[in-house]
Every structure is written in structure tokens, then in C-alpha cells.
């Protein structure tokens, strides 16, 4: 592919302050995080179709009704899909204007294994990262279990990730 010289006109600038919006969130995550404090994963159960959602969902579109029952589910599950992040060097990419290596989020050359996990007893998938495994070991159908923080404090980071069940 060759680079061509493009005709350009001058440009004028403007911004859209996307960070100034205030959104409304339901209290569902509060319930989930209450459970996290006891190393428990709580899901919402639609009594219409029997589907269990983790993280919780408050409306089931299949049955077109509100979901209000709660169940505790296992913290073991199956990898439904995965992808690997790009191994990046310092200054290579920016996330919302920040360099992930510089910020200490990623080590240089590290490839994060990002997985969608279907916890046993649920019908949904939970997004997290796979720990204690090499990228080439990741596969769909892999059995994993949640890795909890030693002292959970009711935050999403209480689940550090998932690791293979040996």
C-alpha cells in the first residue's frame, strides 16, 4: 500500500466533554459486591425462563419482565472465550490519553489473557483475566476458578481474576 499525498484544507477544532455526563446506575452492583465481601458470587434469577445472570441484570428481555430473585452461584466456571492483549512497549499505545505501561497497568511486553467465564449455575458470562497460565494454554472449555483477594472489601477488584483448576 503506497502513501499518497493528500489534498488538505485547514481544520477547525472543537470538543465534546464526554466525561461531564452523569449516568444513572441501578443498585445491582451493590448487592453483588456485598456478596464479594464473603467471597460469594450472587446472580439474579429470572423466574420466567430460569436464566441466572452474573453480574445481575434487572430486566429479562426474553420474558419481558423484571428480575427480582437472587441466587448464590459457584465461583468455578468454564472459559467461553478469550483473547490476548497486544504486547506493548512504553509509548506505543494510549488508553484515554494515558500510557498503560507508564501508569504501571501493564508490564512491558506482557500479554494479558482476557477471558469470558461462565460460572457454574449461571447462563451468562463474566469478564475477567486469566492468571497463572501461559497464553498458549488458554482454550475455550478450560475449567477455571475465581482468585479472590485475601481480604475482600466489597469492590470489583476482589476477584483478581480466574486461574485454571489443576
Amino acid at each position: 500500500m503506497s502513501k499518497k499525498v493528500r489534498k488538505e484544507t485547514i481544520a477547525v477544532e472543537g470538543v465534546w466533554p464526554v466525561g461531564s455526563y452523569v449516568y444513572k446506575a441501578p443498585t445491582l452492583y451493590q448487592e453483588l459486591l456485598e456478596g464479594f465481601k464473603q467471597k460469594k458470587i450472587i446472580g439474579s434469577l429470572c423466574t420466567g425462563c430460569g436464566f441466572v445472570y452474573v453480574p445481575m441484570r434487572n430486566i429479562c428481555g426474553r420474558c419481558w419482565r423484571k428480575i427480582d430473585a437472587r441466587v448464590t452461584v459457584s465461583d468455578k466456571g468454564t472459559v467461553k472465550s478469550f483473547t490476548l492483549s497486544q504486547a506493548v512497549k512504553k509509548g506505543q499505545v494510549k488508553v484515554l490519553g494515558m500510557d498503560p505501561v507508564e501508569m504501571g497497568w501493564l508490564k512491558e511486553g506482557e500479554r494479558l489473557i482476557m477471558v469470558l467465564v461462565n460460572f457454574d449455575g449461571t447462563n451468562s458470562k463474566y469478564t475477567t483475566i486469566l492468571l497463572n497460565a501461559k497464553p498458549e494454554e488458554a482454550h475455550i472449555g478450560m475449567r477455571v476458578q475465581a482468585v479472590w483477594k485475601e481480604k475482600p472489601e466489597g469492590k470489583l477488584s476482589d476477584i483478581i481474576g480466574v486461574e485454571p483448576i489443576k
Binding site: 465534546w16 455526563y21 452523569v22 444513572k24 430486566i59 429479562c60 428481555g61 426474553r62 419481558w64 423484571k66
Partner: protein, 383 residues
Amino acid sequence: MMREKVAIIGYAQSYHQANMPMTREDMVFEVAKEAAKMAGIEREDIDTVINATNDYYEGRTISELFLVMPIGAYLKDYTKVEMDGANAVFYGMLKILSGTHDIALIVANTQGSTFNPHQISVYTLDPTFDRQIGVLNDISAAAIQARVYMNKYGISEEEAAIVSVKNLGNAAKNPHAHRRMPGISLEEVLSSKLYCDPIRELTMSPISDGAAAVVLASEKKARELSDCPVWIKGVGSCQDSYIRDRKLYKLEGLEAAAKKAYQMAGIKNPFAELDAAEVSERYAHEELMIYEALGFCEEGRGGTLIDSCATFNDGQLPVNPSGGALSADPITATGLIRIVEATMQIRGEAGAHQIPGAWRVLAHGQTGICAQQNIVFILGGEE
């Protein structure tokens, strides 16, 4: 001419308010579900779902993405109209007239509390010029329009303020309205906070959270499902030129839209033939301009018409018995709320703000600065 008739068989609207203690999802779920319940249908009966929102107001690109499930669109024909909700009804009607769908669910929603909609009006301007100059927004544009219009026809600020008195007073009887002010006086309106001369807090619409939904049906289905279908007799829509190249003292686009709608509905003298009208007046003076464009009075006589009290609830042609957009303005839902209110009037379900014997009602929706895009519906009961 329409090949078939299309009817509204169910409707619902939220209790519009400044900051609704409800997520966007719950809000649309409730109105959609209520409208379907009223129409006596289940999710399985719906053929197509049309949503009206705007990514800028919602603060999410693909704002309808997460609304698929709450809105009842799971595995349904689904699309989004990024304009006033009345246009979504128009699209739903087109689908039914095409003969491909029988029942359409239309939902429109905006939560103004997410982000100031007046700021967003700036983003609709020409980015290469007007947005750079930085003086124009929907309030300042409306203020200039108000001045031009009022000076040209000798209309006083009081006459425009009467519109606010009328609409906010009417809203007191409407439990769904956001700004309800029983016994509001002219002085109160004229002494409210000045934004852009002559636009004041009470002569411009409030920023509201709200949603509305209607169920449309083909003639066959409507007769099957409903005892009291409300028919769409006529519709007209028109976009006007960009604000730099159009007349500021008159709503030419609305005039053209109304002409089409009247022609379709066979209306020759709208003032005599209509029983009520629900219009989207974002600013008080705009309602006077709307009177003229809709042919309720001659050009420049909007002030005289409001002075005569003919558009009050006990007048000859009540306009905005619900309180109109001045009482609640959840942007993309506003036009759809007008259709819902018109339907309520025809079905005799408007409660305290019912106009007795309303059988042919006009509903109007608008999009854009100084009402650049207008859509007019003529709704009617069984002839």
C-alpha cells in the same frame, strides 16, 4: 393517499420530572410494557419496535444498544430514529402501510439530567463557522427569533408570557407533567430569571427526564384488538433550511408540514375543524408562531389569538391542554408525548385536563434549533 388506515391502540408515558429516580432501562421498560398492556398484546404480537433517542442526549454511542431487551425488541425487527419521537411514529406508520408489519411499538426517551440539552444544541450547529463563533445555542437563537417575530408583528412580551401562564396552569391538572404551577400569574412569568432577552426561565421548556410509548396497528389488527382505536388521519413532515438561510419570523417548515397533513386528513379550516391541538413549543413565543404556521390565525396574529383566549381549555380550540413542552420537555420524547396526549383526548381518558368531545386533535413534534424540522399528525376517532 394512504392505502390502509393506521391506528394507535395503546399508549403510555412516564411521570416526567427533573431527575427521575429510575435508570433509563427501567424507564423505557415501564412505558413500553404499559403501552403493550393497554393494547392487549404480548411481546410475541409485536412485529417491529422503533426507538427514538439521540446519542448525544444519552451520552452513549449506539444509545439504543442496551435498550433492546427492556424495550421488548428481543429477536424483533428493530430500528432507531434519531429525532423527535413523533418521527418514529411516522416510521412505524410507513412500515405498517408497506404491508410488511402489522403491529409496531414506538418508544421515545431522554433523560435530560444526564447532560444539559442546551449544550447539545450547540453541537447541531455548523462546526466550521457558527460553533466556532460561539454565541449561538438554542436559547440565544430562540431569543433572536422571538425578538424578530415580536418586533415585526408588534407582539408584546406579555402576550408571549400568557402562553406560559396558560400551559403551566394547564399542567397543574396533568399528573404526568414536570412543571406544574397552579394559579401562576403573568407577573411570576415575567419576573422569572432572564436567560436571553426575552427568554426567561418560565418562557422556556424545563430540562426533564421522561419517556413515552405508543402501539400502532394496521386497520385489521386495530379492529380486532381495540374498542376505541385512534386513527392517524393525516401526517406531514418537513425540514427547513439551516438557520442562516431561513426566515426567522415565521415557521415555513411547519407551515408546509401542516399543509400536507391537512390535505391528507381533508381539513380545510383547521381552526374550525380541529377540537384541540398538542404542540411542541420549546419557548412561549414559539407557540404563537405555531398558531400562525398551523393556520389557526393569520400571519402575525398569534398574539391576538392568545389574547382572545380561544386556545385556553375552555376556548374554541384548546392548545396544549396537557401543558405542552413548556411543562415537560424530555427532548426526543416530547413529540411522542404530544401524540399520547392527543390520543388520550380522543379516547376521553385525559382526566382533569380532558377537553369534552375532542374527536379530531392535532399533534406536533419538532427537532433542531428554532424548530427546523417539524412533523404534524392529525388524529381522529371513528367517523
